[in-house]
Amino acid sequence: MSLMREIEWGSCLLEPRRDPKLERRFRRATGRPIGPVIYFSGTPWLDDTTLSFNLDVSKQVSIDTELVGLIGMIVSQDNSCRFCFAETRALLRILGMPERRISLLEHDLLSEEFDARERAALEFARRFSRSNPRPGKRDLDALRTAGYDELQIIEIACAASIFVFFNRVTTFFALPPQAIEELPDRWYIRLFRPLIAFLISRKGNTARLEPLEPGEREGIFSEVVLGLDGLPFARSLRRTLDGMWASTLLTPRAKALIVAVVARALDCPLSEKEAIASLRAEGLHAHQIDEILAHLASPVLNEKERVIVSFARETIWYEPGRVQQLGRDAMQTLSREEFVELVAVASIANVVCRLGIFAGAA
């Protein structure tokens, strides 16, 4: 824990905004207070995504919630996300995982405390999130050898995806982690831990296979979504992508640029192809797109787009302190709403491209 607390973490980039209606909605759906979402709420599709991904964390069809929690910790630790790491750690402690087991994971993923099956899942989740090098067939075979079936493998990738998203959102906005870091040691949490654990557990583990409806099988990045068909996360992601594409805070061209830049950096041909098709549909010529993706610059980009493209490339592998400063710089040019959408789209782009690479390997 100490090492995570040493990570450079700037002050929050956004002021909190109360929204009683949204707060009630969150409390009803999750059984928990809205928490840090009030810092970045106000973008409808992002509010919906935050809520549905939050619920998806505890909706497993074929793997158990504890494994998802462990995946959350390992991915958040790898992404240096103090906020998500502390939150996942607190959740595992509340759910009753012994402190010793959590500490072992913090210190050593390969600890003998975890069996070969768990270790294989955790190693894969980390590789998926890191994508350096990209996960390949050999990584999937390692999971199969460890005893996971195809659905479970996809569900592990989905669990890692959720944290790829939340790690970025919370880090890029620099949501304050201190309160959540201290939460498990609060006397009221210790006193009511079994009750809270019961309430949380009651909300989870209710998922079953839900094939996508015909209308959900089409749309932007449908190949990626179809690869997850049957899992609740596939529906959440479909709704997210549709909401993101329909939003008017950033232009469709700006959003396609973000995805194209992330896809180029991660070397995800599937996502890059689709992003380029969207850019073509927005009127950019092939040579202009080539120029933008080769140099992250072009005379056809306006000032906001230059900032957006430049920030997008920083969202793949980053150091929290530096990316938070870049976010502050970006806010000199973008409005609050535009910046929130930029962070959200870039975070989703990171999910989509990693899933695209996964689909290629699978």
């Binding site: 100490s2 090492l3 210190h107 050593d108 390969l110 890191r130 350096n132 090098p133 061209r253 180029r264 950096a265 991660l266 070397d267 993706l293 080769a294 140099h295 992250l296 610059a297 072009s298 005379p299 056809v300 980009l301 306006n302 000032e303 787009e305 230059r306 490339r313 592998w317």
Partner: protein, 269 residues
């Protein structure tokens, strides 16, 4: 001895045993806590070490070394190599005191390393007064060429600032030559059994070093090869230099001096 005394002796015996057991338990708990503390300290040190290592080699390599020890594995990568050398350093070393010289050199390295890391490069090694930096070695970077040339321009600017400081201290100014090249090579842990470093080896590095030598011949502080030029942003202001033969390359090498970067020239969209 009457039965009362025997009973008292037994009770005292039990009490003594209880106290001894309690003391033993307390001591073993104390020992366990100390052991736990030492394990935690060692783990934290290991984590810090891992974090420090990750600045010098990809995470994947660091973890592989920690899990399996050193091995001879390497991988092919496309990397942009920046080779920088101080011009006239030997003469400078004869003009100022050794302690002052080391101070000047260290401050120079700090500034140059900062310029390199600000542009996503990583300093692979210092060779005497030279610097070997790599772009795209630790993580894939499709924009590595532009990053490397931006880093070279930042080094030029940073050195100009440092020279102003040196002039005020009556220390001769420094000048650098920077050679840049892009190509495929082998990245891995290289060295003797006792001393290894994460390095990138191959013709790409050699050519960058040769191009750096040419900076003196053409009086240009930054020179790039045609291979690198092909991937550069057209806003870099480049000046073609005569194709030149360098050791180890059959054909004369097409090279370009970098004069600057045209920041403006962006339009609307």
């Amino acid at each position: 001895m009457d039965s009362g005394s025997i009973s008292l002796a037994i009770q005292l015996g039990f009490a003594g045993l209880a106290v001894s057991l309690w003391l033993l338990l307390r001591r073993s708990r104390h020992d366990a806590q100390r052991l736990q503390q030492r394990i935690e300290n060692a783990t934290t040190k290991l984590q810090n070490l891992q974090l420090a290592f990750s600045r010098f080699a990809p995470d994947e390599i660091v973890e592989r070394v920690i899990a399996n020890g050193l091995s001879d594995s390497g991988e092919k990568k496309e990397v942009t190599v920046l080779f920088a050398d101080l011009v006239g350093f030997t003469a400078l070393s004869e003009q100022i005191e050794p302690t002052a010289l080391v101070g000047v050199l260290n401050s120079y390295f700090d500034r140059m390393s900062e310029a390199i890391s600000q542009h996503r490069g990583y300093v692979s090694t210092f060779i005497g007064d030279g610097i070997l930096a790599l772009f795209g070695a630790l993580s894939p970077n499709p924009w590595q060429g532009n990053d490397a040339v931006h880093a070279a321009l930042a080094m030029r600017e940073s050195l100009a600032g440092y020279n102003r400081e040196l002039s005020e201290r009556n220390i001769p100014e420094l000048s650098i030559g920077i050679g840049l090249n892009r190509g495929i090579g082998i990245a891995g842990l290289v060295g003797s059994r006792d001393l290894k470093e994460y390095a990138f080896v191959g013709g790409t590095v050699n050519v960058a070093a040769r191009v750096q030598d040419l900076t003196r011949q053409y009086d240009a502080d930054i020179i790039v090869t045609a291979t690198l030029k092909a991937s550069l942003d057209p806003r870099f202001r480049l000046r073609e230099l005569p194709a030149t033969r360098v050791k180890g390359v059959v054909e004369p090498l097409s090279i370009y001096a970098v004069d600057g970067f045209a920041e403006a020239a962006e339009a609307s969209g």
